[in-house]
Structure formats: C-alpha cells, structure tokens
Amino acid sequence: MTDAISSFGAVGRPVSIHTDDAAKARLKGRYRTETWFKWLGAAAVALAGLFLVLLLSTIVTQAIPALRQNYVTLPIDLSAAKVDPAKLDEVNYDAIAQEALTAKFPDVTSRQDKRLLRGLISTGTGVFLRKDIAADPGMLGGTVDYAVPLDDFADLYLKGLLADVGSDEAISTTVTPSQTSGDIDLTFGDDAMLALARGHGATEGENGMLTLTSGASSLLVAFNGGTVKLTALSPAANGTVIAKGTVIEALDSTAPAASGQAFLRVIETPEASRKISDKMIVWLDRLKSAGLIESRFNSIFFFTGASREPELAGVWGAVVGSFLTMIVTLAIAFPIGVSAAIYLEEFAPKNRLTTMIEVNINNLAAVPSIVFGLLGLAVFLNFFGMPRSAPVVGGMVLALMTLPIIIIASRASLRAVPPSIREAALGIGASKVQTVFHHVLPLAMPGIMTGTILGMAHALGETAPLLMIGMVAFIVDIPGGFTDPATILPVQIFMWADFPEAGFQQKTSAAILILLVFLVIMNAIAVILRRRFERRW
C-alpha cells in the first residue's frame, strides 16, 4: 500500500516519465523550440519584406529629384543685329544665351572664369532656343526673357545633391577688407574665426597660421555686396585675426562691415571632393537670390531621346523602343503560344512527338535568358541577316522567351474548363474544332489573357538577351518603325547606370521608376482580369 501511495505526487496524480520534472523541462524546451521556430519563419518573411522596402525606397528617393529640372531665366537678345531672320539656321544660339548669362556677371573677366560661367547652362540651350524660335517667330526682334535649362552640376547643386551648404550666419564682429578685388586681406575684430576654421579642417602652420586648402570646407564671407573666400587665417595683435582671401564677387568698397553686417557661409563638402567649384556656387546663389532660377517639371526627361549630357537625356526614345518591341513580342508569342496550348491540351494524341514538345517547353522555360540572346545573334542576325538593334529582332527573341510562359499558363487555363462544356457541345453536334473555338476557348480566355500579360511584363523587364543583339547601342533618335535602331527601357537603365556623371544616377532611378510603373499597371490589369472574369467551376 505504501508503495502505491508513494508513487502519487503532491496533487494526487501518479508520477510517470511523462509527468516528472524532467518531462516538464522537456515539454518546456519543446514549446520554446516551437516559439523559436515560429519566430524564425516570421523573421524570414519580414526580412523579405524589408528587402523590398529597402529596394523601393532607395530607388524612389533617388528618382524624385530627377522629376524636376532647374531653369534660369535670362534676357536673351534676339534683335536683328544678333539673329538674322533670313538665316535662322546659321545663328549660334548657344553663344547668344551665354552672352546673356555673362552680362549678368560683369565682374567676371578672366578667360577661365568666363568658361566656368558659361558651363552653368546646358550645352543643349541652343537647340531648345532654335526650336522655340521656329515654333514662335514672334520672339524675334527684341529681348525676351527665356528660361534656359541649367547644366547637370548646377542643377544637382541647386537640388542640394552635390555639396553640403550651411545657411548664412551673421559674423558678430567687424570685418575690414584691404581691397575690393583680387587677393585681399580681411581683418576680423575677434578671434572666433580661428576656432571655426579649425573645426572645418584647416591645416595648422607656423605661428598659429591656419591654411584652408581644397581639402577643407570652404569658408565664404559675404559683405559690402561681394563675396570673399578665405584661404588662410593668422592671429594678429589685440586679439584680431588677419585672414587672406580671394574675392569671388567684387566688393563695393573697402569700408569696414559692422558687427552683424557680414555673413559667413560654410560649404561643408571640401572643394576637392565635389564636382562644383566655390565660384560656381556663389554665382548660382546670386542667380537664385535674384529670383531667376525656377524649378520646373522635367519635361526634357520624359519627352526626349537619349543624350550623353545628363540634363538633356530623356527616356522617351527607350519607351517607344520598348513599346515597339512589346508589340512584336505580343504579335508573335500570343497566337503561337495559345495555338500550341490548344493543340497540346485539346487535340494532341499521346505520342512521342507530343511528349517531346512538352519536355521541350518545360526546358525552355528554365533556359537562362542570355542563351536566347545568343540564339538571336547567331540565327536572326548572322544567319538571316536581320538588322542589328531593331525592335523586330528584339521582339522575336523576347517572343521565343515568353512563349513557354504563355503556353504553360494557357494550358492551365484550358484545363480548368470542365469537361461537361465540351461534352455538351459535342452532344449537340459540334465538331471538335467548333467545340474548342466556340466554347472552350472563350471560357478559358480570361486566364489566358492573365498569363499573357504576366509573360509580357516579364519580357518588358528583360535585359540580357537584348544586349546580345545590339540593342545596347547609343541611339539619340526616337525610333519610328520596327526596323529602326532602337533601345529599350531596361537597356537604357543599364547604360545610364554605367555612366560616371552624377546626374545620371537620378536619371537611372527615375527610369527604373517609370519601368516599375509600367510593370505595376500590367500586373494590376492581370489581377483585375483574374478577379472580374475568371470563373471557378
């Protein structure tokens, strides 16, 4: 009896290997593993989501600046003395626009500076001006205010992407210049500037002298209507500081600026590590404070063809090329794919040929896309002698690539139509062909369309095979036909991503954004088709 009693636990239940302490610990461990496993799975899903958010946010934040472009409004002299209305084609419009810009900066005199100044506006200005004059001859004969697109560096600076510029801060001491232009000395009333220069990467020299090289931040002092760039500072008597500086914009006078009358601007990014010089920054800020700079919707990007100049490059040529290519792909892949699916699903007897076709289709679906490019190069270009870089060849290659996708989707859709439909049609005397084309196919059509759109979306984003057939060529013209040399959107993205100019980075992201918008639209149509029309039996 006592033995039996002792084998009961405190609560009166028998203790066994399933209920003893070790078992409880085991159970606890098992539940812990369970929780861990579950969280691991959730983490995997979350990680995938995080990657997507990271990818999209990177691209969207980069793309947004490219949607706008800065223009400077200049008074352009189109009087008969400059532009002969009889010889509109022989006028150097670029020079006229550049003159209008240099006229804004009378104190810029050296050759080198003038060249820098002219570089602020886009090299495509002349082309735009000529086109607008051709469209509106009324502009001729006088001076007109005309908005000129800025060069890519100037544009990027104004968008805040090239240099880190602090806001103007009043200097709380007097500033006395020695001259109004050239290399001058500035005398500061106290030594606060020394600590400031040290904080911005100035190099220490002898006797407490601080040198601001191009590897340090730029310190600009604006007063008396001009701007001076500090190059070196040294402490002087009575706690004052004497600074050497280069005048970027001439001062009005050598009168000392009172406390709070001079302003200090710090450009944090050292001049050596940015693509825009201090002078250009000062000029641009002057134009901006004069209210001449205007940020507009970037119509150049959306409606022109490719260019080697970032501010002139547009995606329209690539969009048209993509569109032409997709038309060819659709025209080939859709009829062939649907016909093949109909044959395999509805007519094909079980024999070696059909088995071989099926194995082939499944294999083709898994062949790397670049191999299709090699096929296009060897067969379409070299064997049949078709034109390089043409949308028709690109479309054919992509059609071969999309074909398996369309066939597989169409077969699934045909298979989903219940046999009763076929039997009913056959029962009232329809032939096999009539059954398929009048009854089965219309019912399967929504599914087929969905599969086709998804296949086309896949083809739209495909790049590698088109590189093989020369669609990577640099093409400025907007393609007008199926055999014109063209490039397509993903290839354009690939080419721009390789260009070293900083302006192309934003353009690339914006082009990606356009591509993604097209893909989203196509997928949305596919989803709507599936929701609205697909029938469940």
Binding site: L55, V379, G385, A497, I512
Partner: protein
C-alpha cells in the same frame, strides 16, 4: 512596299470570305440546311486558299532575301572585297545597305555608292518578284478553291485540317527553338574549338581573351590558346551562386513554411504579394541596387572592420542575387509543402507533436525530394542570371574563394565579349558561344536532375 502587299492580301482574304459564303448560299438557292458545310466554312476555305499560300511565300521571302541580296553584292564586288576580312566585308555591305535604304552610314566612298546602287536594283527586282509570285499564288488559289465550292463539298474538313496543321506547327516552334539554340551554340563552339583545344578551354586557369591576339607581322592572326581557360569563370560563378543560395535557401524555405503552416490569413494576404512583387522586379533593377547601394555599403562595413573589400565584391552581387531568388525558392517550396497531405500533419499532431516538430520531422522529410528539386532549380537560375552580375560583379577573372574579392562569372564574360563592335570570326566572339554552350549544358542538366529527383523519390500519398 511589301507591307502594302500584305495589307492587300488581307483585304483579298476578307473579300474571298464574303464571296465564298455568298457562292455557297447561292449554290443551294438559299436553303442553307442542304449544304454539307456551313456557309462561313466555305468562306473560310476560300479565304485561306486565296491568301494563305501568298502570305507563306512572303514570310519565306522576307527571311531569305536579305542574305541572298548580300551574297549577290559580295559576289559582284568580290574583286574589291578580296583583300578584306569578314568583318570588313560585313561593314561594307551594311554601309551599302544604309546608303541605299537610309540609315547610319559609317563612311561613304565610290565603291560603296556603286554597291548601294546595285543593292537598290537587286532589291527592286526581288520586290517585283515577290509581288508577282504572291499575286499569282493568290489568284490561282482563289480560282482553284472557288471552283470547288458546291453543295456537297466538304469545306469544313479541309478548313479544320488546315487549322489543325497550323496548331501543330505552332507547337513545334518550341522544338525548333531548342534545336536552334543547340545548333547555333554547337556550331559556333566547334569553330571555337578548332582554334582553341577544348581541354585548354575547360581546364585552363587563365582567362583574359581581351588580349586574344598577340604577336605581330606573320603571327598577327595567331590565337594564344592559353588565355581561354574557363576555370576562373566557373569558380566565380559557383562562388556567387553559393553566396546567393546561402541567403535565399534559408529565408525562402522558412518563409514558405511560415506562410503555409503558421501565418494567419491577413499576414498571408500581405506577405504573398510582397514576394510576388519581389519576383516581378526586373533583374536590371536589382543590378542597379547592388552596384549603387549594397556594394558601397559592404565596402564601408569592411573598411570599418579593417577588411579590404573590393568595390565589385562577390559578396554584394551574391547577396542581391540571393534576394532576387528568395521568392523563387519560397513559391516552389510552398507548392511542395502544401502537397504534403493534411492527414500526415493530423497524424503527427494526434501523437502529441508540436507544430514545429510536425514540420521538421514529418512534413519536411515528406517534402524533401521537392525541396531538393526546388533548390536545384534555384541554383540553375542563379547560374544563368546575368544583369546583377554584369552590373555588380567584376570583369577580371580571379581564381579565388574569398567573397570579398571581385570575381567574374560566365554570363558576365558572355556579355563583355559580345557587346560592342564585334568581328564575328574572332576567337573572342566564338568563345562567348562556347561559354553559352557550357551554361546551357549546366542549367539543362540541373533541371533534368531536379526533375528526376522528384520523379524518383517522391512518395505518392493519395
């Protein structure tokens, strides 16, 4: 001008349909029930015969005529072209065509102008020939078919047989594509192996085809056989694929398990589209992301840890490729896991197993062949992936297993060898096809193995 011909034939076909229909109805004086075939089928019959053969002729013509025209030009100007190599002859013909029909002309000279004039006249002749042939075919087809239409004529059978032949022809396109791929790869590779022995290609450890032609004078055309060793490319491909699978396999598999066995309906409604979007993003976008964001990021981390990370490191390309493959792995695994019957899970739960024990000890072993096959397909996908590595991996062929260094892959080299101006006969260009052949063979065998694994080891439950 051939475009007009096609339009004309289509109009003819529409007219023939209407004529055939009318004639069929007229042949029974409007009593349609007495016809063997429907009037529309008679119309279709007539339209097919009026336009079909002519359209076929146009397709054949447009496929063969460019090469015939070029060969005529090359033949006529053979004395002028005799000293030139194949690429120069191609450039000559391209320029002649551009002068004749408009387009970008490299530079013009009198010989090319003459060739362009000849080109124009040859092309005019061939256009004239196809117009005549098409119209004759169309007229005779129409006449023949028109004379057949009668009350008892079995037009339906003819039309349906033609339709069926068309359907079969469309299905055969898949076979033709495979044959085209295999033949083009094999022929170009054979030409390559005539210049470079294949064992040197397969087992050589030095790859630098950009310096393919060394020596001068008499040896100017000689090919240095030792610079076409593909082992470094293969090793680079494997390294990047390995890194990609390290990212994709666990994340993809765990995501599939979570979504199929744990996730609530609302989580699934969000997570599935996320994976689909990830799968739908073009690879060029991933490439841009890798080159612009991920590679500098890894480089920065490496610098802060005191490691020297190449700016085109295998790690960055591999990780981004892994991200790209996650949805592929997870959707394939999801299918496989869902195919394990519920009764197995219920049985395991009935024995007191927790959910994770059920998954690890019952579901995964049952789904193992499918998961292995999914992983093999993912590997095949990673090996064949091009854009990410073209944009984010290096060009120099390093034989290294260090993921922080730059390596190059088979696909990168195919692109570098073939993009830009190419001479089609050089060993450099042909090497790309040999690489393509290797790539095709590897991915194909991986797919076949994946298929066999499933067929051989899958348990049939239901």
């Amino acid at each position: 001008m051939v475009g007009y011909l096609v339009v004309l034939l289509l109009v003819l076909a529409a007219a023939a349909y209407w004529i055939g229909r009318t004639r069929a109805i007229a042949s029974v004086n409007g009593d349609v029930a007495r016809l063997h075939s429907l009037p529309g089928q008679h119309g279709m019959f007539l339209a097919l015969f009026a336009a079909g053969p002519a359209l076929l002729a146009i397709v054949v013509w447009s496929l063969v005529t460019p090469s015939i025209e070029s060969s005529i030009i090359a033949d006529r100007f053979s004395s002028e072209l005799s000293g030139m190599g194949v690429p120069q002859v191609e450039a000559f013909i391209r320029d002649a065509r551009a002068i004749a029909f408009g387009g970008l002309v490299g530079f013009a000279d009198p010989t090319k102008e003459a060739a362009a004039a000849l080109y124009k006249s040859v092309h005019a002749t061939s256009t004239w020939i196809i117009w005549t042939v098409a119209l004759v075919l169309s007229a005779s087809g129409f006449y023949w078919a028109y004379s057949r239409i009668a009350q008892a004529y079995r037009a339906r059978h003819v039309v349906e047989r033609i339709l069926r032949a068309f359907l079969i022809a469309c299905s055969v396109v898949a076979i033709l594509t495979t044959i085209g791929i295999v033949l083009s790869l094999i022929f170009e590779s054979l030409r390559f192996f005539q210049q470079v022995p294949f064992y040197k290609f397969l087992f050589g450890t030095h790859w630098s085809p950009q310096s393919a032609f060394t020596g001068a004078g008499a040896e100017a055309g000689a090919v240095n056989e030792d610079i076409f060793g593909m082992v470094p490319l293969f090793a680079g491909t494997l390294l990047i694929t390995f890194i990609a699978m390290l990212v994709a396999a666990p994340i993809g598999l765990m995501a599939a398990i979570y979504l199929s066995d744990y996730a609530s309906k609302s989580v699934r409604a969000v997570a599935k589209p996320v994976l689909e979007i990830l799968a739908g993003i073009p690879t060029v976008v991933y490439g841009f992301f890798a080159a612009l964001t991920v590679a500098p990021y890894f480089r920065g981390i490496g610098e802060s840890l005191g490691l020297n990370v190449a700016s085109e490191s295998a790690l960055a390309a591999g990780v981004v490729m892994g991200i790209m493959i996650i949805p592929f792995v997870s959707s394939l695994s999801d299918d496989v896991i869902n195919a394990v019957p519920q009764s197995l899970r219920d049985g395991s739960a009935g024995l007191g197993a927790t959910k994770s024990e059920t998954i690890r000890k019952v579901v995964l072993p049952a789904a193992l062949p499918g998961i292995v096959s999914a992983m093999l397909l993912a590997v095949s996908r990673a090996i064949g992936e091009t854009m990410i590595v073209v944009m984010a991996a290096g060009l120099a062929a390093n034989l290294t297993a260090n993921p922080l260094e730059a390596v190059t892959t088979v696909t990168v080299q195919i692109v570098t060898l073939l993009v830009g101006d190419q001479e089609f006969d050089s060993a450099k260009t042909l090497a790309a096809f040999a690489l393509g052949l290797v790539l095709f063979c590897i991915t194909l065998s991986l797919n076949i193995v994946a298929l066999r694994v499933v067929q051989k080891y899958r348990e049939q439950y239901d």
